[in-house]
């Protein structure tokens, strides 16, 4: 081990997250590989190691014999300080080698607040942060992940964005890079050829031309680059590589368990939800394969918990059979099976009864809005009756902790809708009084509100976000109206949501803001320990930009969005139609009732969407 590191590690919190060496890590001989990839997650080890996408792509990239892909995470503040003091550059966990010795820095960007950490990790590695300052082919800086679906805010820093699911696309790019490295291509040559790979967006080939008011007139596209870049998907998940030997962390991480992915996409079409639209079309895995994979994962890791992942577990067609199949293995071994993202319906309670036989932890539901009218407007297909019925069954079944998630500031929201949240919480409490099996144990109802952030590629991408003052007013209104002592109210601070809104629909100019924040010391901004609102405001001012332009300005129907160059499958016309439905408070049927021809099925090239 590096001598400097040996002296630092005893001084920092939880040093095991900085050492690598975990069971199932992939070690290769440097001499046997031509391409070394530093797979960078712009947040801590604990968060990154819980990310299923990282695990999958780590495995697929390492399938290439000439590639060694290693993990890199952002150090926490104490380690960061010590590394700076001792002049230790950012290093990869498997080999301990500096990231600067790698050919590729590949970033997985899941959320906007991680942007400044991406710059920081490049800097800690000694790599120039601007794409234009990296004139050689290597190191190549690439990025993917949900936040990359609006690539523009990070366009000045990243050489190549990989849009959509990376299992196949990443390896196609690495294969081309292998050839390029061996044959000595220039960076320009390589980028030109790479732009022909499906899902590859080379921001340098696209120049946004602005109108006087700061909106985008059009993109000037360099010769040979596609007008729009269509995201990539894996058509058949049953045939895709799914790692059955994931790394077992030697220290505690956020989700300390194995994850089994049921399906991708979502049939629901909630209008605020980016994930529900950008991960379409719907593709499921077969229950037989899932049982087999679940058992293998548990055997190969020794994990004592397994989670079934998807955007809406209740919508997996074979959920009941799958749970039976897994429980048969889990129960005799005291292995816990958990199932997040359940809908508030009877079926969920029946399933939960089977999963939580002895220990009844809490139940969590997300009605998202307090009134039926607003729930219809956002297309959250759950009725008050259904929710209360579910709560009744839960209370009768012995549960006494219920969490309810809502959003404030949804389009068309009135004070009546806000007060509806308090009313609904009271009705849940009333239901408990009527039906609880054992009232002596008491009840705990937690109401949480977050601030709505309009997201690209969702039907609400044109919407204005509430101002921070408006959010605070709504929070206070709700606080005054939630009085029962059994109901706890938690709310998100609107400052982070405001910044998130400026970034999520940001254009290329916002890159300067991100750079300013980073230069002023901003990293790990998703953590309240490090987030500084003032630093963001200063950064906007120094960049000569108005944050309100990005967060609060309603967009015109035909405005060219910074992310219009990205085709996620779902048509813009469909999104607009859904937006109009919202203003009429009209529901759209879910995909299983009636296909709305959203457009995502075209990505399957003839295959069938499971919606």
């Amino acid at each position: 081990m590096d001598k400097r590191l040996e002296r630092i590690l005893p001084k920092v919190q939880k040093p095991a997250r900085y050492t690598g060496g975990e069971y199932n890590q992939i070690i290769k001989d440097k001499a046997d590989v031509d391409i070394r990839v530093a797979f960078c997650f712009p947040d801590t080890y604990e968060i990154g190691m819980s990310n299923l996408g990282m695990g999958i792509l780590y495995s697929t990239m390492n399938e290439l014999p000439y590639v060694w892909c290693e993990r890199v995470y952002a150090p926490w503040g104490d380690m960061y300080e010590e590394m700076k003091k001792a002049n230790v550059p950012l290093y990869a966990l498997e080999s301990g080698d500096p990231v600067s010795e790698h050919d590729v820095l590949a970033f997985s960007i899941g959320y906007e607040m991680a942007y400044s950490t991406v710059l920081d990790m490049m800097d800690m590695a000694g790599v120039p942060i601007h794409s234009a300052d990296r004139t050689e082919l290597l190191p190549l800086v690439i990025a993917g992940g949900t936040a990359a679906l609006n690539p523009e805010p990070m366009a000045d820093f990243i050489d190549i964005f990989l849009l959509g699911e990376g299992e196949e696309m990443n390896n196609e790019l690495l294969e081309m890079l292998h050839e390029a490295k061996l044959d000595g291509w220039t960076k320009e040559e390589f980028l030109k050829k790479a732009a022909q790979i499906g899902g590859v967006y080379v921001p340098g080939f696209y120049t946004p031309i602005l109108n006087n008011d700061g909106t985008i007139e059009r993109f000037e596209v360099a010769d040979g680059a596609p007008e729009t870049v269509q995201k990539r998907i894996i058509a058949d998940l049953d045939k895709a590589n799914f790692p059955l030997n994931p790394i077992v962390p030697s220290t505690e991480v956020v989700h300390d368990r194995v994850n089994l992915e049921l399906f991708r996409g979502c049939v629901r079409g909630c209008r605020f939800c980016q994930a529900g639209h950008v991960y379409r079309p719907i593709r499921s895995k077969s229950p037989e394969l899932l049982v087999e994979q679940g058992k293998a994962l548990l055997k190969n890791t020794g994990a004592q918990d397994i989670t079934l992942l998807s955007l809406s577990s209740s919508d997996y067609r074979h959920l009941s059979g799958l749970c039976d199949g897994l429980l048969e293995y889990c129960e005799p071994r005291s292995i816990g099976l958990s199932l997040p993202s359940l809908r508030a319906d009877n079926f969920s309670i029946e399933i939960m009864h089977r999963l939580q036989k002895t220990r009844k932890s809490g139940l969590t539901f997300a009605p998202e809005a307090g009134s039926q009218r607003l729930r219809d407007a956002i297309n959250k297909n759950v009725t008050e009756e259904e929710l209360l019925n579910t709560c009744r069954l839960a209370f009768e079944g012995g549960w006494n902790t219920i969490k309810l998630y809502f959003m404030l500031g949804l389009p068309t929201e009135t004070d009546e809708d806000v007060l509806g949240i308090a009313k609904l919480a009271n009705q849940v409490l009333h239901t408990w009084r009527l039906y609880a099996k054992n009232k002596n144990r008491g009840v705990r109802i937690t109401v949480s509100t977050s601030c709505f952030v309009p997201k690209p590629h969702s039907p609400f991408q044109w919407e204005s976000q509430n101002t921070m003052e408006e959010y605070i007013r709504k929070v206070n209104l709700l606080r005054e109206n939630i009085r029962a002592k059994n109901v706890v109210y938690n709310w998100h601070d609107p400052q982070t949501s405001y910044i998130e809104a400026t970034l999520s629909r940001g254009d290329r100019r916002v890159g300067k803001v991100i750079e300013n924040v980073w230069r002023a010391g901003g990293r790990l901004e998703a953590w309240s320990d490090y987030f500084s609102f003032e630093r963001w405001m200063n950064a906007f001012e120094d960049a000569g930009l108005d944050p309100s332009f990005y967060a609060h300005r309603p967009r015109a129907k035909d405005e060219t969005m910074p992310w219009d160059v990205v085709d996620v499958g779902v048509r813009k016309a469909h999104l607009w139609h859904e937006r109009e439905q919202a203003y009429k408070s009209e529901l759209s049927p879910d995909c299983r009732k009636q296909c709305s021809a959203c457009g995502a099925a075209k990505l399957l090239k003839g295959g069938k969407c499971d919606g």
Binding site: G21, V248, K299, G302
Partner: protein
């Protein structure tokens, strides 16, 4: 099945795995090895394993022991073999055997250490360290749960000697493992407190062997 004992070493990168994390890491390794640990009874069952003399983060050891029970009979050799391939880098299973002696019979620990000096002469330091530790009493202040207290660490040191090793100074010592427990770090801490001019820039330690009261190797 009877109580069994695993002897293992913890070196290299694994020294940063904390005691609690090590328990979880071991539990998982046993499950992967197909050795089903006996669980505690009750509302929240957990595997009944215990690792003697919790090791400080950063300290290496060649002589760790962990007691456990399995729910099914298995050949000791098979347990060792199947476990060996399931451990993370730096943890090595050395031996599995029936736990006959009680862990509380452990009394002495043989340790070694490396004291690094960036700008001072190792030969000179060696001499000074030997002189310092020939004192009969070394009273230092030590933080405990009850606040800062004074403690004499010398009686907890049975044997101690320093020798030059390249640019470093090597420590060899036999110290009290329990009642009282002497954290080897205190050997360097004492220097920092009482003779800062001889305190190393960095010190690291390694457990070599465990003994009972009569200096017989404990197994």
């Amino acid at each position: 099945m009877d109580k069994l004992r695993l002897r293992f070493s913890k070196t290299g990168r694994a020294v940063y795995i904390s005691h609690l994390d090590l328990m979880r890491t071991m539990t998982r390794a046993f499950l992967r090895a197909g050795c089903r640990l006996k669980y505690s009874e009750g509302f929240n069952p957990h595997p009944n394993i215990s690792i003697a003399l919790p090791l400080s983060v950063g300290c290496e050891s060649l002589c760790e022991i962990m007691d456990f029970r399995l729910i099914e009979e298995k050949e000791l050799d098979d347990i060792l073999k199947s476990l060996s391939v399931q451990l993370p880098e730096g943890i090595e299973a050395l031996e599995v055997y029936g736990a006959e002696r009680k862990v509380k019979e452990i009394k002495w620990l043989k340790i070694s250490g490396i004291f690094e000096y960036d700008e001072r002469d190792a030969a000179e330091m060696t001499e000074k360290l030997n002189a310092f530790y020939s004192r009969e009493s070394i009273v230092i202040s030590k933080k405990s749960k009850r606040g800062v207290g004074e403690t004499d660490i010398r009686p907890a040191i049975k044997e101690i000697g320093f020798a030059q090793e390249g640019n470093d100074v090597r420590l060899d010592a036999v110290i009290s493992a329990q009642e009282p427990t002497l954290n080897p770090e205190l050997i360097a801490d004492a220097l920092r407190q009482l003779t800062p001019e001889t305190a190393p820039d960095f010190a690291k330690f390694r457990r070599l062997e465990i003994y009972d009261e009569n200096m017989e190797v404990f197994r």
